[in-house]
Assembly symmetry: C2
Homo-oligomer: 762 residues x 2
C-alpha cells in the first residue's frame, strides 16, 4: 500500500499486470513469433576473431544447400558504404572485423534450420590482427589503435537518452591516434589542497567487469519491405519504436513516414533494446524483397549485443575527523568496446553526487577495445559508480569509527546540491531514504541479527531518471469501455498504472479501462521505455487525456440532469448528481448519447499531452545481510531490504515486483555476473552455463520499503522507479561482506575466489 | 474543378486516390487474403428450396473426407437458440429453410478445396413446403404465411441507418397471420377531392425487379477467437466496423470490448456490407476454437445476401391544366424477402418529395416473401421511387404539352417544402440542378441532336444523405508528416478528401498527409460508409482536428519568432512570419521542437469531433440520350449527363469518378440488371453469365456537371455525393425511350422484349 492511498479509490492500491495472464499462459506474441507470407529466416555468420582482416567470403557451398535463398555480405545491403558509428548503426562488417561476434554475413533461408546449415557452410577467410581486450591493454603505449583516424562519427546514438550531458565537463580528445576516445574532467574547488588538508584520505581502486543485461528474450525482429510503395514494416522487440524507426529510416535512406515499427511484447530489455538488429533485418528485407526474420540465440546475443562497460575507479576521498567529507578525487576508466559509448557524464554525476563535496575532481577515460560496444544497462554506469563511492564511504566510516549510516546522512546531498557534474540536483529524496534505513529493524538490530560469519551492510544508489514528452488519448466507448491510447512500450507494468490513473480520474472500475498501445503510425508519441520515464512522462499525458474526457462526460451529464457541472460526480462507472444518488446515468449511456446526438458534442474523446519541465531523480538505500564462508569465500545473501523513494506508489504491487527485479539484478551484478574475455578478446562465458544469472534459489528474501517524496511533475507525484533498484546492490553486498569479515572486496562480482583472496589479504 | 476553388490551395482541385496504386497493382489486402495460423476454410451448404422443413443433416460422409475438420449446424453454434430477426442476425437455419440459398450447414476444412468437397458431401434431407416468391403471390388470400406469428423481432437492424423514420406515418400491422409485414400510410390534404378536381390525372403502375449491389468483391470475413481471454477478432470486408462489432457481440453474448473488428479494404459495398456473414464466421470460430475464413463465391453471394427489394408502384398524379401538380396518390408494394427490411419511409419521402403536392396519400405495403431478405443498395428505394414519379411526371408533361423540365422546375420542392413523409426538407438544391439542366446543350439542343430512333429524356433524383457523429485526430510527426486518424472505411476516396482538408488547413502539400484508418479498438468512432455521409460527417472532424494542430503549431512558431500568433501563417510546409519570408521554419522542425522541449507544449496533436445538426440532401438531374431499335426493342444509351448538387466539390476528380460509378449503376438498374426468381423461389440468374452488369462498352460517355449549393454543416459546404447519382438513371432512360419512340415503358430493366412490347402497344 502507498502511504497516500486515502484520497484515492484505485491509485495506490495493488493491482495485477493487465497482460499477466497472456504472459504466463504463453499467449503473448513476441517478435520471434511473427510469421509473414514468404518470410525468410536469417542466420548470422559472426567473426571468430576480435580483430582480423576479411580476405574473402566464399558462400558457394552455403548457397548450394537446399532451402538457402541468399548469403548477404556488406556489399549486398542498401547500407553498403555507410559509416557505422555504433553497434546500433552496424549491419555487416566490410573489410575488417573489430570484435569477436561482429556480424560478417547473413544467410537467408526458407527455414531456421536451413539458415543455420547455411551459416555453418559460409567460408570466410580472415587474416588475424592484434587485438586489445581491456582498457589497460588498449592504453598501453604500443597498443594497436582500433580507429587510427578516430572513432567514426555519424548520426545520433539511439541510446543518447542515457548519455549524460557534458554540463560542467571539459572534454578532451587525445592528440595522436589512441584508443582513448575521450577524456572528461569535472573539477571544482582545490582538490590537491583539500586532500592535503584532509584528516583522513581513503584511497582505493575498484573494478567491475562487463555485465550483460540478461533479458529472457534474445533480440528478434521481422522486417518486410514493399519495393513499390517503399513501405518498410518492422516487428521487433524494442523499448522504443520511434527511435528505431528514425534510425532505420536514416540508415536505409527512407523517409521516416515510410517506416513503420511495430513494437511487440518485450521479454526484457534493460536498456539493450533500442535497436541493434533492426537495421540489418530491414536492410536484408530491402535487399532480397522478401520479409526477413532475425532472431538471435543466447550465445549470439552474448557475442554481438551491447553489455555494460567494464570499469576501473581509482578513488581518493578525504574527510575531517568529524566526518565531513571534503574532497573526492577519482580517475575512472570505462571500457567502451569497439565504438564509443560514453557514460562519463552520468557516472560522474552519480559517483560525485550522492554527497556534498566542496572539492571534487573526476577524470573519466572512455577507452575503445576490441570487444562488443557497450550499451545501456538499467541505470547505466550507476552500479559501478555506487560500488566505488559506497565502498569508499563505508571504509571511511570504519576509519572514523562512525556509524556508516550516520556518516552518510550527515553528508548526503539534497535538492539543489551539486551533482558530480556540478549541476544542482532536482527535487530528490536521498535523505528520506537514509532516514527510513535508520529506522529499519535490520539496520537497527544488525548487531544482534548477525551470527558468526554474518554481516549487514548498506549502500546508497540513485538515478536521475528520464523525461520525454508524450501524448495520450482517452476514448469512451458506448459500452462504457475507456480506451487509453499510448505510444509507450509496456515492459514493467506501466500500462497497468495507466489503467489505474484513468480509472481514478473517470470513476470507473479499472477493468473498464483498456490500454491500446500504438506503433509508429497508429500510436501517440512517447519516449522509449528506458530511463525510468514512462509512468513519469506518459502517465501525465494519460491523466490529462482522462481529465479531458471527464470534462466532456460531466458537461453532458449536467445538461441531461439540468444540474451545474460542479454538482456532477463520476463514480462506479456512473455520473451522479451530488447528493441525489437516484439521479445517475452510466458512463456508457453518456457516451452513447454523445455519439448519437446530432448537433451534440460528438464522441467522447480526451486528448492529453505532457512535457515535464524537470526530471525526478530516484534514490534508494539497500541493506543486505550476508553470510561469508571464510573457508571458501562463498557469499550467501540472507536478507535484503530495498528502500526507495518512488514519489508516489501508483500501483504498489507492481512497484514491489519491479524493485524485486531490480534488486535481483543488483545482486546478480554484485555476486554472480560477468562476461569474461581472454586477452585475445574471445568471450569465455558465451552461454548461460558459464554466465551466472541469479535464480530464485540464489536470492534472499527481498523486502521493499517505499519512501514517498512526491515529485513536482510526475502524475500524482510519481517518480521513475525502474532503474534505481539495481544501483546499490553490489555496494551493499560488499559492505555486508566487510561487516561480516573485515575484508574489503574491491571488485565485482564477489566470487568465491575474489572474496577468499580479500579474506586472506585482510 | 470546383467552382469555388479560388480561395483554396488544395481543396477543389483534382487529386488521385491515395490507394489507387495499391489497388491497381494488386497490393491491396482484402479480407479474403487474410491467412491466420491454424485457420480453417469454411464452405456453406445452402438450401436448394425456397421453403422446406429440414428433416435431417447427415454429415458423416463429409466428415470422412480428408481435410474436413468439422461440419457445423445451427445447434453447434453459440448462437444456437437465438431468434434471428434479419439476414444480419442469421447464422445457420434450424428446422426450416425459408429461402433458396439460406445457409444450413458450414463445413470447415484445412483448405478451400476440401471444404468445397465436404459441402458437396453433406446430405440434408428436406421436406419441401409451399413458397411465395413475389409480393403478389405472398398477398394472395390463400398464400402460405411465412411467419404465422409475425416476423421475428430482436435487436437493432444493422442497416437501420437506411430505414427511414416513421415521422408522419401511421403504421399498421395486419390483424391475422399475413405476409403483409407492415402497412405505412402518409396522407395530407384531401386526396379524393383533389383527384376529382384535377384537370388531368396520370395513372400508371410501375414495377422494378430485385437488383443486386453487384460489388466486385463478394463477402469475405476471417474470425479468430481466444477462449482464454474471450477476445474475438474479425477481419472483414465491411462498410462499418463499429456496427458489425456491436451486432456480433450481441449475438454471441460477448462484451463489445472483447470484439475487435478490423475493416479490410473493401471491393465495393453499396449498402450490402454492414455485416452478413460475420456472425456466422465468428460463431464458427468460437465453436471450433480455430480461426475461420468464410468467403463467398459469386453465386453464393447472389443467393444468400441482401439485394434491393422488388417494387410495384400504383400511381395517380393530378394537375391543373396550367401545370400545377396538386395531388399524388399511390399504393406501393415492396418485396422484403424473408425478413422485414422496411424502406417505406424513405421511399415515401422521395417519391412524394421531389415536388410540392398539396394533397398526398402514399400507402406502402411491406411484404414478406420466400426470397433472400432485401437490404440497402446505394440510395435504397430511391431508383424505384424516382422511376415511378419521374416517369409519371414525364407523362404529365406530354399530356399537358409542356416542356418536361419547365414543368418540373415550376413544381420542384425547395428547402422547407414537405417531403413525401411530411417533414420539411433540409437545405437542398433540386431547383439549382434543374436550372443547370435547362442550360445544358444536350437538353437545349435535344431536337437537333436526335436522329431517327433517338431521344433525350431527363429525370430528377435525390437522397436525404446521412449524418453520424465522428471523431478524428491529427498528429504532426517530426519529419513533417501529418497523420490523420479516422474510424471510417474508405470506399469511395474519402481518405483522399481528408488528405486535402488537412493539407489545406495546415498549409502542407497533400503528399505530406497520411490517413490512418482504425479498427474498433484503435480507431476514432465514425459512422458506417453508407448514407453518403463520410465526407460530410467525418470530414468535419478532420477539419477540426487539423485546426487544433494548426493552433499549436502557430502558437509555438509565434514563441520562437517572438511574433504575435496573428502574424504567423502556414504555407508550403513551413510557418512564416507574415511579410517576412526569411523568417520561416518547417513544420517538421516545429514538431520536433514541441516534442523535445521539457516544459513545452508536448507533441503536436489536434483532436476534432463533429456532430452535424442536420442532414444535407443531395439532388441530381440526369439527362440521357438513347437510340431505340424499333425492330428489336434494343435501347442503346448514347450520351449521359449527370448534374448533381455536391455542395462543394472537395476533390472534383474523385467526385466525377463516384458520379460516373453511380450513373453507371443507375444505367445498369435501368437497362440491364435483375435477379429473376421462378414461382418456386429458385434464382434463375445466379451468376454473372445471367445477371447482366453493365460493362464499359455498354455505357455511354458520362458527363458530370457540379452544382455547388453549400450545405450549412458539411466541411467547406460539402454534401454527400455517393448515393444521389444512382437515383435518376432508370427514369431518365425510360423518359428518353419515350422521347425517342412515344412508348412508355413501365418496368425496369428496359430489356429488349419489354421495350418491344411497349412499342407494339403504343
Amino acid at each position: 500500500m502507498s502511504q497516500q492511498t486515502g484520497a484515492f479509490t484505485h491509485l495506490g492500491r495493488p493491482r495485477k499486470l493487465i497482460d499477466g495472464l497472456d504472459r504466463v499462459s504463453g499467449r503473448t506474441r513476441y517478435a520471434g513469433d511473427v510469421r509473414l507470407p514468404g518470410m525468410l529466416y536469417g542466420k548470422l555468420v559472426l567473426s571468430p576473431y576480435a580483430h582480423a582482416a576479411i580476405l574473402g567470403i566464399d558462400s558457394a557451398a552455403a548457397r548450394a544447400l537446399p532451402g538457402v535463398v541468399a548469403v548477404l555480405t556488406a556489399a549486398d545491403l542498401p547500407t553498403s558504404g555507410k559509416v557505422a558509428s555504433s553497434r546500433q548503426t552496424t549491419t555487416l562488417a566490410a573489410g575488417e572485423v573489430r570484435y569477436r561476434g561482429e556480424p560478417v554475413a547473413l544467410v537467408l533461408a526458407e527455414s531456421e534450420e536451413a539458415a543455420a546449415d547455411g551459416a555453418a557452410a559460409v567460408n570466410v577467410e580472415y587474416a588475424p590482427l592484434p587485438a586489445v581486450a581491456s582498457h589497460a591493454a588498449a592504453l598501453a603505449p604500443d597498443a594497436p589503435v582500433i580507429w587510427p583516424a578516430g572513432a567514426p562519427k555519424e548520426g545520433a546514438d539511439l541510446t543518447s537518452e542515457h548519455a549524460a550531458t557534458s554540463g560542467g565537463a571539459s572534454v578532451e580528445r587525445a592528440g595522436g591516434p589512441s584508443n582513448l576516445h575521450e577524456q572528461r574532467r569535472y573539477e571544482r574547488g582545490n582538490v590537491a589542497a583539500a586532500l592535503a588538508a584532509a584528516d583522513l584520505v581513503i584511497e582505493r581502486t575498484y573494478r567491475t567487469p562487463v555485465v550483460h543485461q540478461g533479458y529472457l528474450e534474445p533480440h528478434a525482429a521481422v522486417a518486410a519491405y514493399d519495393p513499390l510503395t517503399r513501405n518498410l514494416q518492422i516487428y521487433t522487440s524494442t523499448q522504443g519504436q520511434f527511435g528505431v524507426r528514425d534510425e532505420v529510416a536514416r540508415l536505409l535512406g527512407l523517409p521516416r513516414a515510410r517506416v513503420t515499427v511495430i513494437p511487440m511484447a518485450v521479454g526484457g530489455g534493460f536498456g539493450a533494446k533500442y535497436g541493434i538488429i533492426e537495421p540489418l533485418a530491414a536492410a536484408a528485407a530491402v535487399a532480397v524483397g522478401r520479409p526477413v526474420r532475425l532472431s538471435l540465440t543466447r550465445t549470439e546475443d552474448f557475442l554481438t549485443t551491447t553489455p555494460t562497460p567494464a570499469s576501473e575507479f581509482r578513488v581518493r576521498l578525504g574527510a575531517t575527523r568529524a566526518g565531513v567529507m571534503t574532497v573526492l578525487d577519482a580517475e575512472i576508466f570505462l571500457d567502451n568496446g569497439v565504438f564509443p559509448f560514453t557514460l562519463g557524464g552520468i557516472v560522474a554525476m552519480l559517483f560525485g553526487g550522492y554527497y556534498r563535496f566542496e572539492h571534487l575532481r573526476i577524470v573519466i577515460n572512455e577507452v575503445l577495445t576490441n570487444k562488443p560496444q557497450s550499451g545501456a544497462y538499467r541505470a547505466p554506469g550507476a552500479p559501478q559508480a555506487s560500488f566505488a563511492i559506497e565502498s569508499t564511504v563505508d571504509e571511511l566510516a570504519y576509519a572514523l569509527g562512525m556509524d556508516p549510516l550516520e556518516l552518510r546522512l550527515a553528508n548526503a546531498a539534497g535538492p539543489g546540491d551539486p551533482t558530480g557534474e556540478g549541476e544542482p540536483w532536482e527535487d530528490m529524496g536521498l535523505r528520506e531514504c537514509l532516514a527510513a534505513a535508520a529506522r529499519h529493524p535490520l539496520w537497527v538490530n544488525r548487531a544482534s541479527e548477525c551470527g558468526p560469519g554474518e554481516g549487514v551492510g548498506l549502500a546508497v544508489g540513485g538515478w536521475p531518471c528520464g523525461n520525454t514528452t508524450a501524448a495520450a488519448l482517452c476514448r469512451v466507448d458506448t459500452d462504457g469501455t475507456i480506451r487509453v491510447h499510448v505510444g509507450s512500450v509496456d515492459i514493467s507494468g506501466t500500462n497497468t498504472g495507466f489503467q489505474l490513473i484513468a480509472a481514478e480520474i473517470l470513476g470507473v472500475p479499472p477493468e473498464q479501462v483498456e490500454i491500446v498501445a500504438g506503433d509508429t503510425r497508429s500510436g501517440p508519441f512517447a519516449g522509449p521505455s528506458g530511463g525510468s520515464q514512462i509512468t513519469y512522462s506518459v502517465g501525465g499525458a494519460v491523466a490529462e487525456a482522462a481529465r479531458a474526457a471527464r470534462r466532456q462526460l460531466i458537461e453532458l451529464a449536467s445538461q441531461l440532469f439540468e444540474a451545474s457541472v460542479e454538482d456532477i460526480e463520476l463514480r462506479d462507472g456512473q455520473a451522479f448528481v451530488r447528493g441525489v444518488p437516484a439521479r445517475a446515468i452510466p458512463i456508457a449511456r453518456l457516451a452513447e448519447e454523445a455519439q448519437d446526438r446530432h448537433g451534440g458534442p460528438g464522441p467522447i474523446v480526451g486528448e492529453g499531452r505532457s512535457a515535464p519541465a524537470d526530471n525526478a531523480p530516484g534514490f534508494v538505500v539497500h541493506i543486505a545481510k550476508v553470510h561469508v564462508d571464510t573457508e571458501t569465500g562463498r557469499v550467501t545473501p540472507l536478507r535484503y531490504v530495498a528502500i526507495q523513494d518512488v514519489g508516489f506508489a501508483l500501483n504498489p504491487l507492481l512497484l514491489e515486483g519491479q524493485i524485486h527485479g531490480g534488486a535481483a539484478q543488483g545482486i546478480g551484478f554484485g555476486l554472480y555476473e560477468a562476461l569474461r574475455y581472454d586477452e585475445h578478446g574471445e568471450l569465455l562465458t558465451a552461454s548461460l552455463m558459464d554466465y551466472t544469472l541469479p535464480r530464485a534459489a540464489a536470492l534472499p528474501p527481498i523486502e521493499v520499503v517505499f519512501v514517498e517524496r512526491p515529485s513536482p511533475y510526475g502524475p500524482f507525484g510519481a517518480r521513475g522507479v525502474g532503474e534505481p533498484p539495481i544501483t546499490a546492490g553490489a555496494a551493499a553486498l560488499a559492505n555486508a561482506v566487510r561487516a561480516a569479515t573485515g575484508a574489503r572486496v574491491l571488485e565485482t562480482p564477489l566470487r568465491d575466489e575474489v572474496v577468499w583472496q580479500a579474506l586472506h589479504q585482510a
